[in-house]
């Protein structure tokens, strides 16, 4: 089904961003434009999900150039669900940013960059062309470079240099592996690629190319090759970290899942086992990091790495249960990780430090935030009525069906440690003796400079609004858990296309 709706999630933020650049001196104008754009986009995303639900996979051939020749956009249920989750995350983070990002950043193009980031993310999810995926990746990455360094503190400059370098190298590898793939099979349309690879067989040269793609996307997703991630994600303000943790690594994961279920799905032996072990390694190393550090941001960042590992493990099982679990857990993970960073932002804003040693007694002043954090922590670990449970259960089921008992047990132990690391934040930061908030401390009132460095931002700290924004995401954590059976039907439809690539190919190439 050709449907012009598919371009809307890109067009809306793109137009908003361009208008925002023109209105750069007027912060209220920028806020209104951004706010309207993200809310309209939630509506569009819901519409896409409903359409895909009713009518099956939607495609859009740009300028009417039919599939293998022109660029196509494809929305199967997997992409549609991710677009919906992204739009919700984008809306919540934008409203959180209104109350926390500070006027300096607002005047220096925070909002346009935010919208461009969303353009790149939506594009990556919807595109059906490998080179277009690269372009959308770059749109997203260039905005992320700008967002991560915006503010220009020493720490941000230090980490951005490394972040850009690693991404340029991985993007170059991406183009190089695309060159090899083009030489081998002569197309870059994903559906067409899938056909050609099936015909040629996935051994020898194509196996090597698949491995190259795994390295490239692994670098982007932080799957095992995550050495660049903890430093970069811990530097910018909480809201930016939240959107990065919720979206950027997941785009890399999406690319892994898409390419390895649609194109390189023939070799389930070596490559899938490798992905499984990479996932397990990320989980183990991630939880070790999460348990070892005493810095709120660091602990949560290492939890992001562990989450990526679990989703990759779900994919690697290559059976219906595992893939359904991976999709379900990915949707949950995007929301929960962003929410944890948003809540941590409130804690950091209140006490002016990220170090757990200097945090305690927040529960008296912020009881609601405290209990939200507690319940989100339980959801992260997959405690039954909450959002993480079904996903984790399905992944475990998939692992057992595949016969990977050791790996499944390791993943369960890692989940427990994830829970421990988040609960430790809760206990140390919210319990214990009361401390003066940063605004009450005499030291900072004399020297705003010190305060800025501590905050990592020029923040107008408005906890009520921050809590209001966070509680929207929190509602989703509860609702996904309670409505798991209903959402499961959507996830099953998504997994069906991933397990049967011919459905995707037929929809795109219309044979």
């Amino acid at each position: 089904m050709t449907n012009n709706l598919l371009i809307m999630p890109l067009l809306i933020p793109l137009i908003a961003a361009v208008l925002q650049i023109f209105g750069m001196r007027h912060v209220p104008v920028q806020r209104w434009l951004g706010g309207i754009a993200v809310i309209v986009n939630v509506g569009v995303a819901v519409w896409i999900v409903i359409t895909v639900r009713m009518e099956g996979i939607q495609t859009l051939a740009m300028s009417g150039w039919a599939a293998p020749y022109g660029i196509v956009f494809v929305a199967d249920m997997f992409a549609a669900l991710l677009v919906l989750t992204t739009s919700i995350l984008g809306a919540v983070c934008l409203f959180y940013a209104f109350a926390s990002i500070g006027e300096e950043r607002e005047k220096h193009h925070f909002y346009p960059f935010f919208q461009f980031l969303l353009v790149g993310v939506y594009g990556s999810f919807l595109t059906g062309d490998l080179f277009n995926l690269f372009v959308c990746f770059e749109v997203m990455l260039v905005s992320s470079y700008a967002l991560i360094v915006l503010g220009g503190t020493k720490r941000q400059l230090q980490v951005t240099l490394k972040y850009i370098l690693i991404n340029i190298v991985s993007s170059s590898l991406f183009v190089a592996s695309m060159a090899y793939l083009y030489a081998a099979v002569g197309t870059l349309n994903m559906a067409h690629l899938s056909q050609r690879v099936s015909e040629a067989g996935q051994d020898g040269i194509i196996g090597v190319i698949a491995f190259l793609f795994l390295i490239v996307f692994g670098l982007k997703a932080g799957l095992f090759l995550f050495f660049w991630l903890p430093g970069s994600y811990a530097a910018p303000p909480s809201v930016i970290t939240a959107i990065f943790a919720g979206l950027l690594t997941k785009v890399g994961l999406y690319a892994i899942i898409r390419t390895f279920t649609l194109i390189f799905y023939h070799d389930t032996g070596f490559l899938y086992t490798l992905i499984g072990w990479m996932g397990i390694a990320s989980m183990v190393l991630g939880v070790i990091g999460a348990v070892a550090y005493r810095d709120v941001n660091k602990i949560l960042v290492y939890n992001v790495v562990a989450g990526v590992g679990l989703i990759a493990f779900g994919l690697a099982t290559a059976n219906v249960a595992g893939i359904e679990g991976a999709i379900f857990y990915m949707l949950h993970d995007m929301i929960v990780k962003a929410l944890l960073f948003l809540l941590a932002g409130i804690m950091i804003g209140a006490l002016g430090t990220t170090n757990l040693k200097d945090m305690s007694g927040l529960i008296k002043r912020y009881p609601f935030t405290g209990w939200m954090f507690f319940i989100t922590g339980l959801a992260l670990a997959g405690v039954p009525p909450l959002s993480g449970f079904i996903g984790k259960l399905l992944i475990v089921q998939g692992g057992l069906e595949r016969g990977w008992y050791t790996m499944t047990i390791i993943s369960l132990i890692a989940s427990l440690l994830m829970l421990y690391s988040v609960m430790r934040i809760f206990m140390l930061a919210f319990w214990g003796k009361d401390r003066p908030l940063i605004d009450d401390r005499a030291v900072f009132q004399d020297s705003p400079e010190v305060k800025r460095e501590v905050y990592h931002e020029w923040s107008p700290f408005r906890p009520r609004r921050l809590m209001a924004a966070s509680s929207v995401l929190f509602a989703f954590v509860i609702l996904i858990g309670l409505g798991a059976g209903w959402i499961q039907t959507f996830v099953a439809q998504a997994a069906d296309v991933l397990v049967h690539p011919t459905l995707y190919i037929q929809a795109v190439l219309k044979e």
Partner: protein
């Protein structure tokens, strides 16, 4: 011809890796630039080199060159141009702020 181009690509990659692994920030940026040049050349080589034919697929033309890789390279060059420009500006800013362009001195934050 393809073989010679492949060797050229290999040399570019080697130079780029050497530069990226050095300590000076400017050399690193030049390294990334050369790396992407190498990748573009690779992309061109991978689509078979043919001389004397236009990148047009006409009804009458007997021979033609595949235009797709050229379009891809063009896109990639534009993206790389933007990223390199941004990287240079960032390097300048961090030189002003951190007072060094030596990556050894641009240390990570104190890891507790």
């Amino acid at each position: 011809m393809e073989v010679w181009m492949s060797i050229a690509v290999g040399i570019l990659f080697a130079v780029a890796v050497y530069l990226i692994l050095s300590r000076s920030l400017l050399r690193i940026i030049l390294g990334t630039s050369i790396l992407t040049h190498g990748v573009h050349l690779l992309l061109l080589t991978m689509s078979r080199l043919k001389s004397g034919a236009p990148p047009l697929l006409g009804e009458e033309s007997g021979s033609y060159v595949d235009p797709l890789p050229q379009a891809l390279i063009l896109t990639s060059i534009v993206i790389n141009f933007g990223v390199t420009a941004f990287f240079f500006v960032l390097a300048y800013r961090s030189y002003l702020k951190l007072k060094t362009d030596d990556m050894e001195e641009v240390k990570m934050e104190s890891d507790e």
